[in-house]
Symmetry: C2
Subunit: 460 residues, 2 copies
């Protein structure tokens, strides 16, 4: 315990007692994130309503060396928001104002606790578009998305959060409030601190506000569903389509096992007999979209699809994408523990990665199901296991390690979008040269000399 009664009193004074949780039952809810195999209890949970409160909390925490873990909606998938060292959880959910949507300059400024979906709904009213689309967008917060550099299916055509981040108001570990970056598309004033903080998993600073770039809403969208006899052919098809110059906004893969679990949970019209499906979205001007959709249909057939069709209307298209989004929860409902991985390889190495994952599952006698962003090389193999069964869990973890090794051997990375968090920190040394890890640690010390911000994450 690092938090004394006196500190609780002082925190109550900063935030007001309606913004402070200390009872064990209340704290329990903040001991998890969406990762199924980690837990850590906070000592106190705080709900700041403005940046000044964050500043005062951090100054106090720093003075007393109290760990501070920032949490948005806790939807992250690598244990990043689990307070493994106890201390304070700083929950941004009450800082949820959209400060500005500037339709002329194509920018917006939001507080950290704004839910991505709420933001998207406001943008849609003004015909604006913000592409980063983690599949938890119904709950995920903008601050969490900055901290994790979030992305999703739109990564293929539109990149991830860092490609849209222009500036931020952040609070340093010592409590200083700083404005970094600007509301301009171009800016080369000193090192790019917003981009250093983006993806740093809450270890460098607390992001209170973000300013981001927006795009005009595409005039039209079309969804194409293609059925394949095996996942490897399906993955290879994506390569062939992209190399012909067609640029879908999304290209997603789902395997048969996951298709069946999704359809059991909610019948949304996926073909349950398909060994694998690819879901594409094309977007842009009306004429371009219909032309490209026709091309994707043709190229999928050429690449071995057994059936390909365009969604007949917006409702069917929405159903397909809802199904895709349900992937992780459909998996979670079917195993006591699911290790959801996040390896990424250069796109043309996907078929080989799939082959290796298949062999890894067979060799270790564990079930590995797969979905992912086939269009950008980011796969989510999920290992079904039970952490209460040590023998099985050991085989599952061995499989994880082997999947990481396979990805690195194929010039890939161990995390495409979920981050390192707790889940992958013991693998970091395989994924980065030791000199680079030294640089990370020293940068951490520059920002957070006492190590209070999200300790225990990224490296061991």
């Amino acid at each position: 315990m690092t938090i004394t009664k006196d500190i609780i009193k002082r925190l109550n004074k900063i935030l007001g007692d309606k913004s402070v949780l200390v009872s064990r039952t209340d704290l329990m809810s903040f001991s998890y994130d969406a990762t199924s195999n980690w837990q850590g209890m906070p000592e106190i949970v705080l709900f700041p309503t403005d940046i000044k409160q964050i500043s005062e909390v951090l100054a106090l925490a720093n003075e007393n060396s109290i760990p501070v873990t920032v949490r948005g909606a806790g939807t992250n998938l690598s244990g990043g928001s689990i307070p493994v060292s106890g201390g304070i959880v700083l929950c941004t959910s009450r800082m949820n104002r959209i400060i500005e949507i500037d339709a002329v300059n194509f920018t917006a400024t939001v507080e950290a606790g704004v839910v991505l979906n709420d933001f998207n709904m406001e943008l849609a009213k003004q015909n604006l578009f913000f592409p980063p689309d983690p599949q938890s967008y119904l709950a995920a917060t903008m601050g969490g998305c900055v901290a994790e550099n979030s992305g999703g299916p739109y990564g293929l055509k539109y990149g991830v959060f860092k490609h849209y981040l222009l500036g931020m108001k952040a609070v340093l570990a010592t409590g200083e409030i700083v404005s970094l970056g600007a509301k301009t598309i171009k800016n080369v004033t000193g090192y790019d601190l917003p981009l250093l903080i983006c993806g740093s998993e809450g270890t460098l600073a607390v992001v209170a506000q973000a300013t981001i770039k927006l795009l005009p809403m595409p005039e039209a969208r079309q969804t194409v569903l293609a059925v394949f006899n095996d996942v490897i052919t399906a993955n290879a098809a994506v390569s062939k389509i992209l190399s012909r110059g067609v640029r879908p906004a999304k290209a997603e893969l789902i395997d048969n096992w996951i298709i069946r679990r999704i359809e059991e949970a909610a019948p949304l019209g996926l073909p349950v007999d398909a060994e694998a499906i690819l879901l594409f979205e094309l977007d842009g001007a009306v004429e371009t979209v219909s032309m490209e959709a026709a091309k994707v249909v043709e190229l999928c057939f050429n690449a071995g699809a057994t059936d390909v069709r365009e969604a007949k209307d917006k409702k069917e298209a929405d159903n397909f994408w809802t199904a895709r989004r349900m992937g992780f929860s459909a998996i979670y409902g079917n195993a006591p523990t699911a290790l959801a991985e996040d390896v990424t390889v250069p796109m043309d190495k996907l078929p080989e990665l799939m082959e290796r994952i298949k062999r890894i599952g067979e060799k270790n006698d564990v079930m590995i199901v797969t979905m992912g962003h086939a269009g950008d090389g980011n796969l989510h193999p999920c290992i079904l296991t039970d952490k209460k069964n040590p023998e099985h869990y050991a085989r599952a973890q061995k499989s994880t390690q082997e999947i990481f090794d396979a990805a690195l051997e194929l010039n890939g990375v161990i995390s495409g979008e979920h981050g390192i968090g707790l889940e992958k920190r013991r693998y970091l040394k395989n994924a980065m040269p030791p000199e680079a890890i030294e640089l990370l640690k020293k940068i951490k010390t520059v920002f957070d000399p006492r190590g209070i911000l999200n300790p225990g994450k990224i490296w061991e």
Copy 2:
């Protein structure tokens, strides 16, 4: 002098004597960049041919605290590659291999000394496109573009270098060679060191190789030229077009004085009587481009253009863009000293910035001519002066300061793409909070404890 005869001997041994320059006449060429008011003599110039040589040079320089300034083609516009502290200039021009163009994964890996234009020509053969387009692209090197986070007219639609950088091989100040990032579109493995080094102006590490993302070449392009009676109406027109959902690839502004100087230097068909012109490029699928070009024509007329026309063929379009690219050199030929500035504001603030710049010029009795990337708020006002005339030069510098103040007051930044270098280091304290500048300095110390890499840049 920090370089002894013994060190010269050791450097000769590392590089071979054909890769070492020491004579005063030879060194003189490396004492400038494209900025017209700074100079600094190196003591020795080296031309490494591989990363191992860079590593050995840095280890030696670090051991002896010798300043090292990396230089590509020296086209930068803020004094970034001028060796103001003497020491070594490390010129990357002989490391000019395109290591890989991967048309399936849409990535490429190049050595630092590859000239951007040479790279673009190779890409075109494979129908690939790399958007960052500093107007010095005929000479600028890829390493220089990483160091300066370069961009140009395509910034409007396609962003700048950092939006394409995936990974790099870099040499740290102490000589270690590190691979950072990866050949994958998504990667959240630790802090994003490649993006921290991108735009750091050679102060954090020496970039020897870069891996970047590519795009498919757009199927079609069309150029539109619009004539206006004044620069302020022209700038306002861009806002109006963008807010209607049209997304040109480029939207460039040139004022009458610059138009005349360009046409004097080489008649390329610009309308010499126009007070201001806007040059647009639309790109994408054939149908989309012709539709959008027609929309731009209509919207320009609505916004007050006196004449608007589409380029009649590729040759005319190329001529217009060549003319635009000649802007800076046309200015330089007409004044002993030209202070080429680079302020950026949110796009809808451009008309107000233009008004203020006009008043600043009148008040200080200096001539300020303007061109720039009207589409992304990045303006290049150029002050014509003569640094040998102290009284006039003082008024020019006062005008620079006032332009920076105006940009900052309008929520802008003091550099959109040229960097801070020497030119703007005394203004950094106006453009960033002191806590952020402290972070920059500490990050610099993490990477370069003895301060040998490009000392004297970014801050004073």
